[in-house]
């Protein structure tokens, strides 16, 4: 059992150093993709460290999708308290202001801080570049319908699958959970099957 421990420790020490040493890459641009402000390897490494911190101090894995279910249920408790109490899912997952919801709300603030520091990346746009390139600048209604429908499908799927790109895709996979590896592969398969016809056919 010594060897795996040493190997794991080695990766933990060496990988961030290698990651930090690499330059942010140049993209071959048929479509002009933006560059991240920081190296994706540095950011990924720090998110990996963050998962260690949340598990250690909060006993919670990093995750996002359940926050939307909590908020939805909280609004429902205000609007139709008896109806919400009749739903099995909410009986088993009582919607409260808890760690997950606060975590995601804080993430909005953290992202604002990141966009406002360094090179200013605050957008304030409703239609993003790639959408406009494909659907035109006057496609606001279409974007509203697609984003709403997409959000609804995504949250429904997340609840069925038991998590999202954070909860399954990062926290679950790094703890070797079988269902998380299956789910994250299906996330990308489903996404690719929609995205390529939508933007490239």
């Amino acid at each position: 059992m010594k060897v795996p421990s040493v190997a794991a420790a080695g990766f933990l020490l060496v990988f961030p150093a290698v990651a930090a040493a690499r330059q942010v890459h140049e993209l071959p641009a048929s479509y002009p993709y933006p560059e991240p402000a920081w190296s994706p390897y540095v950011v990924g490494t720090l998110i990996g460290v963050l998962t260690m911190l949340t598990l250690t101090f909060s006993r919670k894995p990093v995750g996002a999708s359940s926050a939307y279910a909590d908020l939805s249920g909280l609004l429902g408790r205000l609007a139709a308290p008896r109806h919400i109490a009749s739903l099995k899912y909410y009986q088993e997952h009582k919607p409260m202001i808890g760690w997950s919801l606060v975590f995601v709300l804080a993430a909005i603030g953290g992202s604002f801080l990141a966009a406002a520091t360094g090179t200013n990346e605050i957008t304030g746009t409703y239609l993003q570049d790639m959408w406009v390139a494909r659907f035109g600048a006057d496609s606001g209604l279409l974007r509203t319908l697609v984003a709403f429908g997409g959000g609804a499908l995504m949250a429904y799927g997340a609840r069925m699958a038991g998590g999202c790109t954070s909860g399954h895709g990062i926290s679950g996979t790094l703890q070797l959970a079988v269902g998380s590896w299956i789910a994250v592969i299906c996330f990308f398969l489903g996404g690719i099957a929609v995205a390529i016809p939508m933007y490239r056919f």
Partner: protein, 225 residues
């Protein structure tokens, strides 16, 4: 333990039913009364101590900050991975998994953390995963990066929030009627890749880590450069 009569006003309880006020046994005992089963206003509103929620503020802010700095709050970069044209998302996710896998494994061996994983249910993981993916392709933001996109000012992420609230509610609504079907096929409990292969956890990590690093290196050399 002598202070029950002092705490009797019950400040910790929300909306104490008028009829029960006199008969209430004590502040900490929350009886499973009929009203709590039929009226969700009787449920607690806040879950967790102030300290724990303060941790959520700090960790959540760091998470959102990192997502934005890593470029994965950007519509184009998120669509780029689904179009197989841009791999920043894969770079971020795989390096997070590599570092987290090594780190959490060590913390677990030292007895500092306990594993926190979801049950594996093949039917639900596959069908839910594909539905999630289709929605992700339409919205372009996933639940975490939608928060980050909103933070950097992408206003369409507000519609994403509304859609996700609706979808979460629809799932809860359908939980009233459906029980089982394809989504309950293949329940395996909280299994890991180690359980699947029969290898020790340490050995599994020692095999998976270099494979993931190799994937990143190959990606860097072949597709990105």
């Amino acid at each position: 333990m002598s202070g029950t009569s002092v705490e009797r006003p019950g400040e910790s309880r929300f909306q104490q039913p008028v009829g029960e006020a006199g008969a209430s046994p004590g502040p900490s005992a929350t009886p499973e009364s009929a009203s709590e089963e039929t009226d969700s206003r009787q449920w607690k509103w806040v879950d967790g101590s102030a300290a724990k929620l303060a941790q959520a503020v700090v960790f959540g802010a760091i998470f959102g900050f990192l997502l934005q700095k890593g470029g994965v709050a950007k519509f184009d970069i998120l669509m780029g991975v689904l179009l197989l044209e841009n791999f920043v998302v894969v770079q971020v996710m795989l390096s997070a998994i590599i570092v987290g896998m090594a780190g959490v494994y060590l913390l677990e061996r030292m007895g500092i953390v306990e594993r926190q994983i979801k049950e594996t249910v093949y039917g639900a993981n596959i069908l839910g995963g594909l539905i999630f993916g289709a929605g992700f392709g339409l919205l372009a933001y996933c639940p975490g990066t939608n928060a980050a996109a909103l933070g950097q000012g992408n206003l369409d992420a507000l519609v994403g929030v509304a859609g996700m609230l609706a979808g979460s509610y629809l799932f809860a609504l359908s939980s009233k009627f459906t029980s089982g079907g394809i989504t309950s096929r293949g329940k395996r409990g909280k299994i890991t890749l180690a359980d699947l292969t029969g290898l020790s956890r340490g050995m599994t990590v020692a095999i998976v880590l270099p494979v993931l690093v190799l994937v990143l290196v190959l990606l860097e050399w072949t597709v990105i450069r």
